[in-house]
């Protein structure tokens, strides 16, 4: 089940002599995808060095993204939003994209710690979100998304 749907698709595309799937992939830039290490480094920069602990952060994403160009997501952080203790930032990252950074949200002690957005995913991968709290601690959640069609091509 954890197979890469995209490479699977291109293999089939070639096997079947069906141009469209392979052609769509050919349109993708020949940029290497980010590694987990790169993502970790990027996160470390954003969190000011704090090592993220697992917990508090829930990433809501479709099990199957119908198209990688537009994947809706919600990040919910289980934490108050008071002056004394609030979520200062939420960073969203897609490890399997050519560049891992998607978006960073910066919050104030107001409302609740929940944001909605839409992102591009180049292939099936883990999406990660790290929340940085006002006390400097960092928390992480992640979710695997299966991408039917990569977010590239016309």
């Amino acid at each position: 089940m954890s197979q890469d749907v995209n490479s699977d698709l291109s293999r089939r595309g070639v096997l079947l002599g069906m141009g469209a799937g392979a052609a769509a992939l050919a349109l993708m830039p020949s940029v290497a995808h980010a590694t987990r290490e790169e993502a970790n480094d990027a996160f470390a920069k954003l969190t000011g060095g704090a090592k993220p602990q697992a917990g508090k952060v829930t990433l809501k994403l479709p099990e199957i993204a119908e198209n990688g160009n537009t994947v809706p997501f919600t990040v919910v952080v289980d934490n108050p939003m008071t002056e004394a203790n609030y979520v200062k930032a939420i960073h969203v990252m897609a490890e399997g994209n050519p560049a891992p950074g998607v978006v960073s949200y910066f919050l104030q002690p107001t409302g609740k710690a929940e944001v909605y957005g839409r992102m591009r995913l180049a292939k099936t991968q883990d999406v990660r979100a790290v929340a940085v709290l006002s006390d400097g601690s960092a928390w992480e959640g992640k979710k695997e998304v299966k991408v039917t069609i990569g977010g590239c091509g016309g």
Binding site: T70, A99, V103, F106, V115, R118, R120
Partner: protein
Amino acid sequence: MPTPKVKFNETAAKGEILEIKTMIDHDMESGQRKDKDGKLIPRKIVNKFICTLNGKELFHAEMHGAVSANPATNFFITATESGTMEFKWFDDDGSVYAISRQLTVN
């Protein structure tokens, strides 16, 4: 010319938690796509979004090329004071798209 769209409960009770929904039409050209001749299409995205109330920041977002076209950014605030909510989107090319709304808190 992009035209932003914003929606929230503009008359709210003090202490009420409001969802702020925003959207703007923009291609968000990621800088990673190639044109038909194989040349990289230069990046042109909205790289920043900010929401203020009476000049005080409530929320901001820093976006990268992986944000989908026509970005939607939804978040929550607590209704504490009446005033002018300002929403601004910053384009790579220097353009700023802005919209404002009155919030009335009883």
